[in-house]
Structures are given as C-alpha cells and as structure tokens.
C-alpha cells in the first residue's frame, strides 16, 4: 500500500474508531448523557437546531465579514503608512507592539459598557482583534522591502505615488496575504467572544444559551457547525492564497 493510501486509511479509521468508541461509551452508560451525548444523539440534534443555528451562524459571519473588512483596510493602510515613514515607525512601533500584545479580553467589559449589547460591540471587538496581527505583519513587510528597489525607482525619477503603487505594494503582497489568513480567525474569535459575553444573537449566543440550558446534544451539534464553517473559511483563504501566489510567480 502506498504511503498516501495508508495515511487516508489511518485518518478514516481513527475518526471512525473515535466515533464508535464514543457511541459505545455513551450507550453503555459509562458517562452521563446529560454531559456527553452519543454521536447519534448529536446527529439527531442537527435537525432540531437547524434553522436557529443557521440563522445564528449567518449573523455571526455577517458581523465577522464587516469586522474583517475593517481590520484588513485599517491594518494594511496603517501598516503601509507607519511602515514606510521612518519617523512614524520609530516613534509608534512600541505603542503598536504593546497594543498588539495586550490581551483584548480585558477591555471587553468596557467596550460592552460603552456600546451596549448587540452588533456594534461585536464588530468593534472583532476589528480590534483582527487589526493588530495584520498591522504588525504589514509594518514589518514594508520595512523589509528591498532598499535597492526603492533607490533604483527613485533614481529613475519615480514619483511618491508610483513608488507606493509600483514598488512597495507589489513587494508586500505575500505579507498582506499572510496577514489576511491570520486575521480572519482572530476576527471570528473576537465576534464569538462578544456574542458569548453579551450577545443577543449569533452563534456565540446560541452556544452560550445551549450550555446554560444543559442541552448537550444541541450544543455539540452547534459547536460542530461553527467549527466546520471556520475550517471551510480558512481552507478557502488558503486556496485563494495559493492561487494568488501562483499568479504572482
């Protein structure tokens, strides 16, 4: 058997094995079904939560999309501005690093206090979460653009506009893509945390209320739904990334 086939077999068998063992353990009554429902019960719960969970997921993804758009725009814009102007970079870097490293969870109660419950705090917090990784990466990317490229462009009389548009921007495309790949998970994380902490809609709220209501099968089904959605988004971005880097050569 080829290595590839063995890998596939091992993956399929172990996933199946875990599911079967879990089902057996649950059926034999070794664990309390109130806390650990059997996979068959979880599968059944999908139909029960279906509509509500999908609406919640849609709500969460819409907030995430807005937060993501904001963090990419702000992150890339600020990153290029701060990264390319020497004085700005020298003066502001420590502030950016501190804000990047600061655990955002600590300001969450304050954001909720200011903005109330609902969509706005989720978008704002998601943006804060996604913005800094992108900003830090892009700042570094702009700083590390080959100096020779810039000198040559200048020597041949490139205007500032041309310098940014034709030299710096193409040079940092891989960094921006890496930042976008990293940012999406952070945005989604931020939105979900707000929904759990102070949500009235969305997947985080759905998960939180299912847990509070001890509806374990429904909770596991909803968790699986969000997980699959986020894996699909990240894999989609990866594929896009591959295609774009292929195109860039």
């Amino acid at each position: 058997m080829s290595d590839r086939a063995r890998v596939r077999w091992l993956q399929a068998l172990s996933v199946l094995g875990v599911l079967l063992a879990w089902e057996a353990v649950a059926r034999l009554g070794w664990v309390d079904p109130l806390f650990v429902p059997a996979p068959s019960a979880v599968a059944g719960a999908f139909t029960r939560i279906g509509r509500g969970a999908l609406a919640g997921l849609g709500d969460t993804l819409a907030k995430t999309a807005v937060a993501y758009l904001l963090s990419v725009t702000l992150g890339v814009g600020l990153g290029i501005t701060i990264g390319s102007v020497r004085t700005l970079r020298d003066v502001l870097s420590p502030f950016v690093v501190v804000l990047y490293g600061m655990p955002k969870i600590l300001v969450l109660p304050w954001i909720v206090l200011l903005l109330g419950f609902g969509t706005t705090p989720a978008v704002v917090y998601g943006t804060i979460h996604g913005l800094f990784p992108i900003l830090v990466l892009v700042m570094g990317g702009v700083r590390d653009v080959d100096r020779n490229l810039i000198s040559v462009a200048r020597a041949f009389g490139a205007s500032t506009w041309q310098l940014y548009w034709k030299v710096i921007l193409p040079a940092i495309v891989p960094t921006v893509l890496a930042g976008m790949r990293l940012g999406i998970v952070f945005c989604l994380l931020g939105v979900l945390i707000v929904e759990m902490f102070a949500g009235v809609r969305g997947m985080g709220y759905v998960l939180g209320s299912l847990a509070n209501g001890f509806q374990a099968p429904e909770l596991f089904a909803a968790t699986a739904l969000v997980s699959v959605a986020s894996i699909a988004i990240v894999l989609g971005l990866d594929a896009l990334n591959d295609r774009l880097s292929h195109w860039r050569g």
């Binding site: 290595d3 063995r6 969870i105 600590l106 969450l108 989604l188 847990a211 986020s230």
Partner: protein
C-alpha cells in the same frame, strides 16, 4: 533621543486628552487616569476587594495546572506525531484544521462538562496552550539535520542518546519559543474563561466590578491582571534567552 521624546509626548498627550475628555463627558464611563490611580491604591490596600490575594492565587494556580498539563500533552503529542512518519502525515492535517477553529467555540462545551469552577478554566487554558507546544515540537523535529542522526547512529549511539544529545539540542530553540507562546496562550485562556463565566478568580472580580458599574475599580483590576500577564511573559522571555544562549 528625539524619538524617545516624541514617544513621551504622545503618551502624555494621550493621557491628558483622555483625562480632559473623560471629565468633560462622562467620568463614570471613561474613567480618567486621575480616578484610576486612587482606585488602584484602594485595590492594592485591599479596601475595595479584600479577597484580591485569594483571587490572584486561584488564577495563578489555574494557570500553573493548565500549563503543566499543556506541556505534558503537547510534548507527548508532538513527539508522537513527529517521530512516526505515517502517523504524523495522518494526524498533522487534522490538528492543523482544528487549530483553525477559533478556540472559544469549545468553551461552552467545556463549561457544561466541567462546570463553572476551576476545572473548566484549566481545561480551556490547557486547550489553548497545547496547540502551539505541539506545533513547535513538530517544527523542531523537522529542523533536526538528518545527517547528524545518521552519523550518531553510525557511531553506535542508542536511541535515547540520539534523542538527548542530538535531537533535543538542535530543536531546543524552536521548542522554547513554542513553550513561551504556549504559556502566553494558557494565561489568556484561563482569563478569558474566567471572564466568560466564573465565581472566583481575577475574571470574576473584573466581572463583579463591571456589573456594578464600579468602573474605576474595574480599571484597577485590569491593571493588576495586566501585571500578572506581562510578568509571566517576561519570566518566559528570560528562560527563552537563557536557552538560546545555551544553544548558540
């Protein structure tokens, strides 16, 4: 020199602007720095929250337990995946896919399973710390020069010796970096867990202050928690530099 001066000016202007804005609009909501400092003093002299020390110790204990578990499981998982080619290729992608899920989606399940107490925070901190450690072990194993392994074996080194004398030193750099990231994420995990729902610990105090609109106490508690977080990372950074000097 000019750069440092400019930084100081920005910092001071920011604080002054904040003070002014907070006083003119809503001091309760925006907590001017002049109100945060007395609150910090009240907190540190145990006037506003007499159980501060107990909460701090509880949070520290949760972090310590979660981190020890994450190190154990992360090292075991990483070496199991890294040293066996087929196993690694089978479970590596599964692990990477799970890492792409925002970890907080697991937290309600953990809370249901482990309850509102310490155990759910430990479990969540463990979960967050486990991934970077495992991934660092995997990356470290890929960095080991295969020629050195062959040479060591050819000279008759037995597997434990190869492991201790060849593999560990050449992957130490990456490994220690992963351990540091793991600690940072474990700390965040425990604190996120406490803020999302707990009865004791720093997160519970923060929620209490926020819920009662005691905003200046909230800011003081956040500052203390921040010291805890920054301190743990500084300690890890110290260990990291030691290890780097040792390998260099």
């Amino acid at each position: 020199m000019r750069v440092v001066a400019l930084r100081a000016v920005i910092l001071l202007a920011g604080l002054a602007g904040w003070e002014l804005f907070a006083r003119l609009s809503n001091p309760l909501l925006y907590v001017p720095p002049s109100a945060a400092l007395p609150a910090l003093e009240r907190l540190l002299t145990l006037q506003s929250y007499p159980d501060l020390l107990a909460s701090l110790l509880l949070t520290l204990r949760e972090i310590a337990v979660a981190y020890v578990l994450a190190i154990g499981a992360g090292l075991a998982g990483g070496f199991a995946l890294g040293l066996h080619r087929v196993v690694g290729r089978a479970f590596g992608p599964i692990l990477a896919a799970l890492y792409a899920v925002p970890a907080v989606v697991w937290y309600p399940s953990l809370m249901l399973f482990f309850g509102l107490g310490e155990a759910s925070k430990i479990a969540f901190g463990f979960l967050l710390g486990f991934f970077p450690i495992t991934l660092a072990v995997l990356a470290g194993i890929r960095q080991v020069n295969p020629h050195m392994l062959v040479v060591a074996r050819a000279f008759g080194a037995r597997p434990p010796v190869v492991f201790a004398k060849v593999m560990v030193p050449s992957m130490l750099f990456t490994l220690v970096g992963g351990l540091r990231t793991g600690l940072a994420l474990t700390v965040i995990g425990v604190i996120v867990g406490e803020i999302l729902g707990s009865r004791r610990g720093m997160g519970a105090l923060i929620n209490h202050a926020y819920g009662l609109f005691r905003t200046s106490d909230y800011v003081a508690l956040v500052l203390v928690t921040l010291v805890l977080i920054v301190g743990s990372d500084a300690l890890a950074g110290l260990v990291e530099r030691r290890a780097q000097r040792w390998t260099a």
